[in-house]
Amino acid sequence: MTIGERDTFPKLLVLNARRFSGRPAFRHKDRGIWRGWSWAEVEREVRAYALGLSRLGLKRGDRFAIIGTNRPKLYWSFLAAQWLGAVPVPIYADAIADEMGYVLGHAETRLAAVEDQEQVDKILAVSERAPALEAVIYDESRGLRDYDHARLHAIDEIIADGRRALAEDPAFNAWLDNELVAGSADDVCVIMYTSGTTGRPKGVEIVSGRAIAAVSDSIAFDRFTERDEVLAYLPLAWVGDHYLTYCQSLVAGFCVSCPESPETVQENMREIGPTYYFGPPRVFETLLTATTVRMADAGAIKRALYRFFIAHARRYGEKILNREPVPPHARLLYAIGQFIVYEPLKNALGFSKVRVAYTAGEAIGPDLFSFYRSVGLNLKQAYGQTEAFILVASQADDQVRADTVGPLMPRVELRIAEDGEVQYKSPGQFLGYFRDAAKTAEAMTPDGYIKTGDAGFLDQAGHLHIIDRSKDVGRLRNGALFAPKYIENKLKFFPNIREAVAFGDGRDFVTCFVNIDLTAVSDWAERNGVTYGSYQELAGHERVTALLADHVRAVNRDLASEPATAGARIRRFLVLHKELDADDGELTRTQKVRRRFIAERYARLVDALYSDVDTVDIATEVMFDDGRKGTIAARVKICDLAPAAAASELVDA
């Protein structure tokens, strides 16, 4: 059989079964043992599975829901469906029944492949909202024995049924080959529903040929081969997992290992030793915190070694990784550190063999980012969107910086709109939102660029900076771009600053409130002989103000280094007399500042920032933990940063 073009994922499977027939394609830990399947075995399973599905009624163009955690048979469900020309629709395993009902109904899925009883129960609960759904097939039979099996089948049964049919009538082989070749580059290969923050989820239609083209670029970019290894632990329905463990694995031919259970991911990482890893910033933060806590409990010698070598890595590690010149003795000490601390640490985290690691999704603190790089983990940042499938910008090995998401990916066209919004065309870009022409039109510009809703700029080195959601970006009166979250994040990266709130939209210059971080600043106060009796007193101390002023100046220098942000330097700031608190409505429950609310509540302070006064008296009502209310009265000092210099800089901005 000739498969022709490499334009669908099942064709890549068949190709891999020829190229890498004996090499591992999937592994799954079950009953304490890693079980593996070679590419040739996976092809056989998927052929039988596809035939079984077609005997169950699945046809070209049908939608096929896939719900569960990372298990080989669920990944094969994508392949088997695509083999027949059906469109897989993955749904988050932790979606509540209502959301699941919406997607099943909107996509009109005819079949659903699910992991276990939990998902079957949810589907049964919303079955009246999914009238097109004819049958549900499951991977794990436990607890399903007493269910009505009229419309419920085990995936294993479907595969066995296909295998039996193939054995009885070899003509099915030719039929399957025909189905495979009938697939084309223009097929919609998957519909990924994105959970919008507002409104109903939208089904992003990804096109087979475009997806393979985009993924091939990324494979070449990081030089992935069939010898790489990944552990699949991200949600199956998330575009990142689909890209990394399904698409990239099929294009490069590397092996995907599925963990024993979601709780054993860390342990399974150590066993498999992946060479390629993706984690959102939060995961890296959790791992570092866990390490720090465990080191604090370690013996004195271990603790001293850890502290000494981590300090050395902080100084030279990144330079060594970036192949910058480093004195020979530092290099030697780093090599010793590798042996004693860095490698054992990476081993404990499961990063021993990681060659390429990515983080994306939100801003990662530069300290956190450089910690991992300094111990020799090649951690990089990328920026992408489901609609782009997926990468818009990504850092190459020699172009890693903490504050950007890297240069553009090959064949991505990008422009910055009038209002600062990032707009692009990408090789993998989506076809549209499934059955939602209105939303599709909203997401695109008339000339075919996709709107990200993110504000950003390209710096002189060609790196993309993402600064905020574009709707939150304002302008100063002189027209300079003002991105509050970008400034606030830069401030918050200083451990002494817990929260920051920047103002400036429609004003002459930028000002901000800062909140001290009590733990960090009280630690500093102790070391520097600053005495205080309360949070308020510490926050109002002039040496603390001076300390924070240094931080603000450092942020200003940073902002000044890029023309796009140079106009938004902070002229005046004050240290708030009370900690911003979700109980007082100043933060959301997820700890995001509610800028507008704060501006109203502290209107007097904001007015003062934009006047000539140096101190303001303010009384603020607060809610205590036990529900009582009280008032905090304070005299807040305003810090003016080198007004003369600021004025002259404003002129040239």
């Binding site: 009953r31 304490g32 043992i33 436990r142 607890g143 007493d146 259970s261 342990e267």
Partner: protein
């Protein structure tokens, strides 16, 4: 499963009386446990529930009465005999080997089924290894069943109480019992852990056909799980019926609320 069909009497106690010195723990208690059912034993503190379980698996020897198990009469049971003949139990206060891992604790549940001698075991070679693989497979099925993969290698002393209870259930299951005695399997658990435990008990009953006798304080749990309930008070049986009927029983209400019926 074995010789008889579901619904037959698997075990019956007849006229059991148990005294410690002058204290009467049980007096003239009779009831039966049918094959395949979940049988609850309830009663206020000190009613003799745990004593009853201890009589059934031979920890205590009653002064009077008989135990009928699989059609054979015994005036007293012995723990070893009970264990070899398919009676497994868990304890009110977890009784695991705290320094050993979850896996090793479960493997001890297989000890009675291992036949190779001490020296073979020591060698971990040949027949002893083959035997260990067989038993390990059974234990791994239980680990999968109870969803405790993540704590396979953790010493049980470091586990939270709810998980220790689950491991103890696992060890009892490793014996592949015909009759499982559970002494307050939900004490000290939060709501979520209780729900998990209920699910496991039901699944053991349905999937493996294991007959279960359980002592439990949580009335909601008892009423949901059990097919029949026997109620003890001061060592006497005061009621024996389906949960709905027991709930309405005047003597039971009096025993629990302490008012005259």
């Amino acid at each position: 499963m074995t010789e008889a069909a579901a619904g037959d009497t698997l075990l019956a106690v007849e006229g059991i009386s148990l005294q410690f010195g002058g204290v009467t723990a049980l007096s003239d208690v009779s009831f039966d446990i049918k094959r395949g059912e979940i049988r609850a034993i309830i009663g206020p503190n000190g009613a003799g529930k745990t004593s009853m379980l201890n009589v059934i698996n031979g920890f205590y020897h009653p002064q009077r009465g008989a135990i009928r198990f699989r059609g054979r009469d015994f005036s007293r049971m012995h723990p070893g005999f009970a264990a070899r003949n398919g009676i497994a139990r868990t304890f009110q206060n977890v009784a695991l080997f705290r320094g050993m891992t979850t896996l090793d604790n479960l493997m001890t549940g297989r000890a009675l089924k291992m036949h190779r001698g001490f020296l073979w075991q020591l060698l971990r070679y040949g027949p002893a290894m083959d035997e260990e693989i067989v038993h390990r497979r059974v234990v791994e099925d239980i680990i999968d069943f109870l969803e405790i993969e993540a704590i396979r290698r953790v010493p049980v002393g470091r586990l939270p109480y709810g998980l220790q209870k689950r491991v103890e259930l696992g060890r009892a299951l490793a014996m592949e019992p015909e009759l499982l005695l559970l002494d307050e399997p939900m004490t000290g658990m939060n709501l979520e852990e209780k729900e998990d435990m209920c699910r496991f008990i039901l699944e053991v009953n349905v999937q493996f056909g294991t007959t279960i006798a359980l002592i439990e304080h949580d009335m909601g749990v008892v009423m949901d799980l059990s097919n029949r309930v026997v109620v003890l008070d001061y060592g006497r049986k005061i009621a024996d019926d389906v949960p709905a009927a027991v709930k309405q029983d005047a003597a039971v209400i009096a025993a629990y609320l302490g008012v005259a019926a």
